[in-house]
Symmetry: C2
Subunit: 333 residues, 2 copies
């Protein structure tokens, strides 16, 4: 353990040297109470003379992905991936032309797809996410992420991440936090790109998963993706996933919807300083505006709880100078 301490000391010195001066670590955040609450928390848990000081190894921060780090409208981006994948696979499955929910996906008839409910979506996800090796799936995801465009902005999906949240991730890491994704999305759908986009390594991604099976082939061992749910990392599943994969309670948790409520409750219930934040989508001009009535990313019970408990709620329109990185002055348009 000694080596950790030596490293901590050195790294802390470097961090102070790099960030301790006048540069604003959160330039895309307006100077509102929201930003002030973030900075006050980080300063208090990293100040060795503070009662709220938290040891480096306990500085765990968990972030939801859809609607918290990137957009989630008009449909979850992973669903757009699944639909694209069904259309790409359709020539190999001529029977899909006559069979729902595949026919509707191929025809671009979203109303019928969504009318099929959870069962239809599960069929689509399994048909598009299972049946290949983990290495093959990684390639498929990487290819899609590098080429597919959002229907409204015509941007790559990975360009539709929130600039203020990227700065927040950096700011926390500069203060020796370990940043995790804890998303209802598929862990293997995220791992191929979150390193480049968020600076989060594969071992710090917690998400939903399907089962895999080890198979020894002539070419060597592979892991085959099976059409069976392994774990759903949503709602009451989020604290379960956090405990299972991280084994520590986060001291800071970030979400945007009722799917994040239990994660925030779990983080809030630990001893010592805590920071809980919800992103509220209030900006129909730059992004989307939705909360209590939305089918995607509904923010209702978690918002009530935030008000009751004094958690921080981001008002996107008021609190964020820019939403996406490409809006910044001088950004490559």
């Amino acid at each position: 353990m000694k080596k950790y301490n030596v490293r901590s000391l050195i790294a802390a010195t470097v961090v102070v040297g790099l960030f301790g001066c006048a540069t604003d670590p959160l330039p895309s955040w307006n100077d509102t109470t929201t930003k002030q609450s973030i900075v006050a928390f980080v300063e208090s848990v990293t100040d060795p003379s503070s009662d709220s000081f938290v040891k480096v190894e306990e500085r765990i921060a968990t972030f939801d992905n859809d609607g918290t780090l990137w957009s989630e409208q008009p449909i979850y981006f992973q669903l757009a991936f699944a639909f694209d994948r069904i259309r790409a696979l359709a020539p190999q499955y001529p029977e899909w032309k006559e069979r729902q929910p595949f026919k509707a996906v191929i025809d671009g008839d979203m109303e019928t797809v969504l009318a099929g409910g959870k069962h239809a979506l599960l069929e689509i996800v399994m048909a598009s996410h299972a049946g290949m090796t983990t290495a093959e799936f990684e390639e498929i995801v990487s290819e899609w992420v590098g080429t597919a465009r959002h229907p409204k902005t015509k941007r790559l999906y990975t360009e539709m991440v929130y600039q203020p949240m990227l700065e927040l991730l950096d700011y926390l890491r500069a203060n020796r936090f370990k940043t995790y994704i804890t998303s209802g999305g598929g862990v293997e759908f995220m791992r191929p790109w979150v390193g480049n986009v968020y600076g989060i390594p594969p071992e710090q991604v917690v998400g939903s998963s399907i089962q895999t099976e080890f198979e020894m082939r002539e070419s060597g061992p592979v892991l085959v993706r099976l059409p069976a749910v392994d774990f759903i990392d949503d709602k009451a599943g989020k604290p379960v996933g956090i405990h299972k994969f991280i084994g520590r309670r986060p001291i800071a948790a970030f979400g945007n919807s009722d799917g994040d409520l239990q994660m925030l409750q779990w983080a809030a219930a630990g001893k010592g300083a805590r920071f809980l934040l919800l992103v509220r989508h209030t900006d129909d001009a730059r992004e989307w505006a939705y909360d209590r009535e939305s089918h995607i990313g509904r923010l209702d019970k978690a918002w009530d709880e935030a008000k009751k408990r004094g958690w921080t709620v981001v008002d996107m329109r008021r609190d964020w100078k820019v939403v996406y990185p490409f809006e910044r002055k001088g950004a490559n348009q």
Copy 2:
């Protein structure tokens, strides 16, 4: 990502300063080909001018626990915990006096317990490991680990860890490896003590698990441990667990039994330099001697594979100067 690089640079400098000089990082290893193969591997993957150089973030090393980091005879230590726990709970369950396999555990009749096979053991594990919150279980484990004694050595179980392997863990970490446990044992049985004993944080422990459920109580949220298997991290489950929890392929893997074969195959199948090692128990005087015929920690197929593939096989009697930390000169007896 820039901050990572700055940190890496500084930490590398520190590490070179601390360890680059004449001190032997593996003093409890005899100077055999085994030790030489370890050092040669570590030097080649950390030398930026070598073709085998591996970036810091890809330096993942996975270690089995039972029989690889600590002893596993005469029974897996977690089973000793389960038996002790059944005996401690027995007054609350008077019906156990008449019911197998509990009666046999209470009577200390190991023959009958083991004759019950997997089903009996599963019943014992569920009765001893489920039904409480995760926080309560952590306390129970910590209490046991701090007090229970091994029947042969009369030592705490956590004293029966292998000194040469502790040095190996330190040596790898000094060379910026991330060290993981990947054990068939229960993840929640290991997390409470592996930080102090092995220097491995909870988020780097992969193991078997039972299901947990989030529950909101008046006192706050808890995770309740359920009597249902979630994941078995053994044999073909080890590469599955590695992929699920780490999401990277290890470049070095350490085991001692057929339960580790698929983990070693999975690690070996990656591109670039690899290091695969099996601990063979050959020392009946200082520890135990067992391999192909043993019911616990059987080493048969994995040994054949090691010979065929040129993996490193530790001969405990020949390769290790001491087995346990308490054997060292000047160690507190």
